[in-house]
Subunit: 355 residues, 2 copies
Amino acid sequence: MPEANEQFNLSCPIPISDYPNILLAHGGGGKLMHQLLEKLILPSFDNAQLESRHDGAVFDIGGQRIAFTTDSYVVKPLFFPGGDIGALAVNGTVNDLAMCGARPKYMSAGLIIEEGLPVETLWRILKTMKQAANSAGISLVTGDTKVVERGKGDGIFINTAGIGLIEHDLDIRPVSVRPGDVVILSGDIGRHGMAIMASRENLSFQSKIESDCAALNSVVQNLLDEKIQIHCLRDLTRGGLATSLIEIAETSGADIVIDETKIPVRQDVAAACEILGFDPLYVANEGRFICFIPQQYMARTVEVIDKHATDTKSAAIGRVESVTTKQNGLVSMITRIGSTRLIDMLSGEQLPRIC
Amino acid sequence: MPEANEQFNLSCPIPISDYPNILLAHGGGGKLMHQLLEKLILPSFDNAQLESRHDGAVFDIGGQRIAFTTDSYVVKPLFFPGGDIGALAVNGTVNDLAMCGARPKYMSAGLIIEEGLPVETLWRILKTMKQAANSAGISLVTGDTKVVERGKGDGIFINTAGIGLIEHDLDIRPVSVRPGDVVILSGDIGRHGMAIMASRENLSFQSKIESDCAALNSVVQNLLDEKIQIHCLRDLTRGGLATSLIEIAETSGADIVIDETKIPVRQDVAAACEILGFDPLYVANEGRFICFIPQQYMARTVEVIDKHATDTKSAAIGRVESVTTKQNGLVSMITRIGSTRLIDMLSGEQLPRIC
């Protein structure tokens, strides 16, 4: 295979002298991860699907459009206020499918268990996985279990992959974003990361902060049922709201302006962020998303999203100023004091292993 | 949710006093793993797909039958004679799809990387993944990368999930096995496990044993093109030939008799097994499979399989004596000396982390 040998003779595309070894920050959703993906991983599998930089791949099977997605979960600790790794592993994949505008249908689960994990712990995790799957209407149809020696894993890692059906004609993805689109944020941000942080460091804040971990398929389905012309959806996981906006701006060429005063952050979350030195814009969420829609759907979108939330309200936080496909778009924020701040990716991440 | 609460009040179905913690053997493909799957994991997600105990789930999308499968790879060392974790992760999922009689089409990859892995190592693994994917004609369309702290992983773990198209009317799975079916073994057994063992322990045998790691989709496609009425296929990975036969016997109720003298084991592999105290029947393979077919297709099947192999030959190693769906079937072997030996699952596995 001359082609294969040729590939092997190419040198490694990331300058090895800069970062010869993988750092935690390479998994953090920030610049280093971005570089690893863009320079090493995506070019290794160069194809149109990966090029779309979407939460999942979209393709046709038997004339039916489907979405296909995967994520591994390495959250620490395994149980945290508002959820556990099992709920996260199911909801995360359900949400990635929902962000493709797909109805979650089938999923797989791959368990990598560290020797010594109490069987009772595994059982509790399986139970929450089943509850989350039932609740989202997705069937776990295939799986795999591996065990690694003590000290070669960390309790349990879970990979899930999901298949969802796209039952409408919209083309929901970053490149569908248009000038004038309104950015709707589905609720307050920063809860998941702060809940993990609090439980990891055994901190007790005045009020207990619970993760926002939740399945988003029913609210997305409701938006679709209401014929809202969604251009793009993105859940705000690793890297938070800021990173999601930057990724969409870079992929679509959209210049996005957001208004800091419109972004809901609960007071206890804001206080915890301040104490610990985190910026809520970059803190991970597991039940929040942004939605890019034409202006005329704004009121209806907010109304639909708010029907699904009991303890938070959605908000129009910004708009797409312009779109040029010739270069990466920029994200800027009008701050509380009226100045404009350019929103950039963090180098690594504020919190490793939050999902 | 009263139903959910009720589930939570049930006690853990594996007697916690016997095995309160996960052991390495729970991942080994033997009795303990079987117990974990049958008593804890499968009941947690009770559904018809998982009940079929197949290498993958089979269902319809848009009128097209598809197979969906997942596996995580934790092989140690990452590079071994005849392959590496990248080739294994692609071929393993390609093979699980092929064993469902499906043409591999799309796959996902989830990487869990330990902090400190050389970027160059990651790059080499990605390159072999791409080569293996290209060679099997499967597209890697979606992925995920996580990084865990040093000492919380082991270099890299890879999960792959795959989607394949079933483009024929056969119902290839354990319950399709019929009395009189011939069992064809596609080649010599035991190479992968012994190659891993040799490289792990730094043993040097007289001749270098290389893993049989290979994609099986083209040979299966060829069998289908030849209109061979395949009843069941199974690749001989964790737990080897013996465990695969037992799993099929248990799921289908088939009593299977095999002939030890017909099972090809290379002399160097047999010698290595003897020195190290392993039984080749239980040693993992990554490019071998068994095929259950009606007697009249025997010669043609052997001919087709042998066209695809350069260094081994297939063999008819046994037959299905009877099938009763009322109870688990048994696997017995006529030994070299003419006695009959009942083939049972090992408790754990001979070799942990071979895939």
